[in-house]
Amino acid sequence: MQLDINGTAAQVDAADDTPLLWVLRDHLGLTGTKFGCGMALCGACTVHIEGQAVRSCVTPISAVAGKKITTIEGVGSTRIGKAVQDAWLAIDVPQCGYCQTGQIMSATALLGSNAKPSDADIDSSMSGNICRCGTYPRIRAAIKQAAAAVGGKS
């Protein structure tokens, strides 16, 4: 099967029902996408399919063939993704950092559809991503900072 990942065609030899997560991690070595629950409950495995945030741990590769897949390794080449990463660094959001790639993917998707999210918007878009270190206040601040950066002077 051929997958379009971060703008590159990748040949994959895996069963159709294999979740995208394990193809990315085990077959392609793109380990920035994390395993956290396997049931779309924690958001650590978030990637973009055609710009939408999707949990790769429950997405079989058969469902994404021919679609544009973006992972954390590629999101920095988008304007919003880069702004989000920069805000994350400026505010030093991460603690252990494990969930942060998924957080960044969810935040980038949020800003892609909502240039100036309210606190309620952030709650609803980001509550699928668990952080056990408790970086939530900084995640919220970083999303707002990235939104301001992308939107120019607000």
Partner: protein
């Protein structure tokens, strides 16, 4: 000394040496042994901090600092990074004392080697506490050696040269030499004697005490950071394991025919459990080794396994709670006694009692346990997100029968630790599985279900408190019975009693000014693997003590803050040993007394900053709690709003904190922010229950944790400034957690009049719950 534990040591199948090494991971059980005759000698030369740990400490700059010809300074960090920022903090200390340019600092993670690096058990909130002074000395040694090398090459007295900003300068001639050009010659010089070192004056600090960005930040946000679960080795196979659902159970028989028939499955391997205490050994189970994780996971589902549940097959949380409650109503082993509690209770004008319950909780690190291993030519290499590198290495050596020197443990980043990854059972599994496939690389991954079912769980407890008040409402008697299975049960036969390091987490070592006090510890046997969870026994102890003081204040009709300050009493420095705490986190009682002045100060600070006493709307309330742990002082004010349906939101939390002087204040802030969220999470939602010996929660839909929408919106950190760097450092990672749950419940009481005495809070405020209660 705890006689029962001593006795158990002699019958346990572990040598004393081994026990001491293991116990060191507990951050102080070592001191348990110090009053027995057998180790009298050890007592005479009692050492503290890093020097008191099993492999001690030697100042060896060459072990920790390498300077390349291009001037790049590599700092070896021997403590595990799990989000506390140690891979930034340790280099900050070194860079400052070395007079290095921060932009030229790189980090290298040490492999497991305590002979070389000193203790590596990253637990007990002590990396910076133990190694601030030692790392400063290492860097000062290196700086001195660079100065000597420069002076020698110029033929001038060393007193005329000075290291500054990555070069050594000769003031008289203006000659300069960069560190890179001096490094080779400097490394050949003898390491200066400790007494001869001149440490920088804190006023000259360039990095220490100032906020610094994370060195690992760029890798993390780009997905390049390597956690244990990300390990990839040539030809690596992937494994998952079906483990005994009951602790102490084992495989009776199994059939893997179907799994073996699946494409991509390489091998099915039985992992033998070990009889007796859990230690850090793998549980009995059947592993599937396959070409990728998904195939292994699918194949595991097809295994037909009959389990022999063993002695804990009837462990039931409801029944166990009733049993603990019963125990708490009977006298227990007396651990500390002040005055005459019974007489004081008899003479009290009012008596109050309360029982508090806290369930087991799971760590649920976002990176579940995972490790990779390979064995080549009799040498085993392991990559693991471990908080206990040396223990990992030792246990793998023993279990596989490979000489210690032929085992290498690479410490990866940890995707969360919280104490779970102090227990390297998962790394032993990887090594065993590699051995089973002739040394081929194998990575074992725990699914979330595996993680929740087979954690080393935070203890479960009943805390029963009784107090007598005089006519003015002042407490004259305090009787606390703490009932909780002990972590000690994973190391030897179960004593049924809290170990000193558990007792002295805010239960026995209570710095209260009450004339009659008694602390008792009735028996509780462990039926699962009990382990450290961030801040450990401080969680139940602080919850009960700080809730109960608020209950007494309410009964006395007094302001909780004023009442708490009165119960703590005047500012004084208390010798921990006078409170029956001979453990004191392995630190000197003279250097680290319990300072009630500092405890009072954080209470005063947090109440001032949070607007304590100012008016709130209906349904809103503020709650206070303070707790001393890990040699630091923390006080929190939580503000809640409770709606008509009993829904709880937490708009704001203030936390005041005194941990002595600071290295990277931004990481102190972030650790406290995280502690607040974790405290809220365990208070609101955290619960693991057992039925028929099996954990009833499978994944995050059942074991819920706080998410962004329910996290406190506004967390305000108030650090007590400390500019005196001769003052001993306190811990940072854990002490923020204990005050949160009681402060939250005290806030709920202030908002609603409803007293919460059992965690988690969940929907206890819902009208249906209130009417049925």
């Amino acid at each position: 000394m705890n006689a029962q534990l001593t006795e158990s040591l002699s019958v346990a199948a572990v040598s004393r040496r081994e026990f001491l090494v293991r116990a060191s991971a507990l951050g102080g059980l070592v001191l348990l042994a110090t009053s027995s005759g057998a180790v009298k000698a050890a007592e005479e030369a009692k050492k503290y901090g890093a020097e008191g740990m099993p492999h001690g400490w030697k100042d060896d700059p060459l072990a920790f600092i390498a300077i390349a010809e291009d001037g790049i300074v590599t700092v070896v960090v021997h403590r595990s990074e799990m989000g506390q920022g140690v891979r930034t903090g340790m280099p900050l200390i070194v860079a400052d004392e070395l007079e290095a340019d921060w932009s030229k600092i790189r980090v290298q993670q040490a492999t497991a080697d305590e002979e070389k690096y000193g203790n590596q058990d990253t637990d007990g909130s002590r990396s910076t506490r133990h190694f601030f002074d030692p790392m400063r000395r290492c860097a000062a040694s290196a700086r001195t050696m660079l100065e000597l090398a420069a002076a020698k090459s110029w033929g001038v007295p060393v007193s005329e040269v000075k290291a500054a900003n990555h070069e050594v300068v000769h003031g008289k001639t203006g000659r300069k030499a960069g560190y890179g050009s001096l490094a080779k010659a400097a490394a050949k010089l003898p390491v200066p004697a400790r007494e001869s070192l001149k440490l920088k004056a804190p006023a000259q600090f360039r990095y220490i005490g100032k906020p610094a960005h994370l060195l690992d930040g760029p890798d993390i946000v780009q997905g390049k950071a390597q956690y244990g679960i990300d390990t990839r080795l040539d030809g690596m196979l992937y494994a998952v394991i079906a483990r005994s659902p009951v602790f102490g159970g084992k495989v009776a028989r199994y059939d893997a025919t179907e799994a073996m028939s699946m494409p991509g499955v390489v091998k099915v391997v039985e992992i033998q459990g070990t009889p007796g205490p859990a230690q850090f050994q793998p549980l009995s189970g059947i592993a599937v080794v396959a070409k990728d994780t998904w195939i292994a996971t699918k194949a595991r589902k097809t295994l037909k396994i009959d389990w022999d549940d063993g002695p804990h097959g009837s462990y039931d949380s409801k029944a166990y709670r009733a049993q603990m409650l019963e125990s708490s109503r009977q006298p227990g082993t007396v651990l500390r006694q002040v005055g005459d509690v019974d007489a004081a209770l008899a003479n009290a004008s009012r008596k109050l009692e309360a029982e508090y319950y806290l369930p087991h909780i799971a760590h649920a690190t976002m990176e579940p346990p995972a490790a990779a291993a390979r064995i080549v030519n009799g040498r085993c290499e392991v990559w693991a997100p471990t908080q206990a590198p040396q223990v990992t290495r030792t246990d793998i050596s023993k279990r596989l029968g490979i000489p210690f020197e032929n085992v290498t443990v690479h410490v990866t980043l940890l995707g969360g630790g919280f104490g779970r990854k102090s227990k390297p059972d998962f790394a032993l599994e990887a090594a065993l599985l590699s051995k089973a496939v002739d040394g081929q690389p194998v990575k074992v991954t725990w699914t979330r279900e595996d993680d929740l079912h087979h954690d080393y769980f935070h203890t479960v407890s009943v805390e029963r408190l009784q107090a007598g008040l005089d006519a003015k409402g002042k407490p004259t008697a305090w009787l606390h019975r703490s009932v909780a299975p002990t972590i000690g049960a994973i190391f030897g036969p179960d004593s049924g009693h809290e170990a000193p390091f558990e007792q002295n987490m805010g239960f026995v070592n209570l710095p209260f000014d009450i004339p009659n006090m008694r602390m008792e510890n009735p028996e509780a046997m462990a039926h699962t693997r009990i382990g450290w969870f961030r801040s450990v026994s401080n969680v139940p102890h602080a919850f009960a003590v700080q809730s109960f003081v608020a209950e007494l204040a309410a009964a006395a009709n007094r302001d909780h803050r004023d009442y708490l300050l009165d119960v703590i009493g005047p500012a004084r420095k208390i010798d921990p040993e006078s409170m029956k705490d001979e453990w004191n986190h392995g630190e000197s009682p003279q250097r680290y007394p319990v300072d009630t002045g500092r405890l009072r100060r954080v209470i005063e600070l947090v109440t001032k900053e949070s607007g304590w006493g100012s008016k709130l709307s209906k349904g809103e309330g503020r709650g206070l709690a303070a707790h001393y742990s890990f040699l630091s002082y923390a006080a929190a004010v939580v503000q809640v709003a409770v709606d008509s349906k009993g829904g709880i939101t937490i708009p704001r939390v203030d936390i005041a904190f005194d941990c002595g002087p600071h290295v990277n204040p931004d990481r102190i802030h972030s650790q406290l922010e995280g502690a607040v969220v974790m405290g809220v999470s365990l208070a609101m939602l955290g619960e693991i229950t057992f039925a028929k010996g099996r954990v009833e929660q499978d994944n995050f839909h059942q074991y819920q944790v706080t998410r962004i929408d329910a996290a406190p919106r506004d967390i305000r950190i108030h650090l007590v400034p400390q500019s005196d760097y001769s003052m001993p450092l306190g811990g940072v990672g854990e002490p923020g957690v204990p005050p949160i749950a009681p402060a939250l419940c005290n806030a709920i009481y202030a908002a609603t009049g409803k007293r919460i005495r059992q965690l988690p809070i969940r929907d206890q405020l819902a009208p249906a719950q209130l009417t049925s209660a």
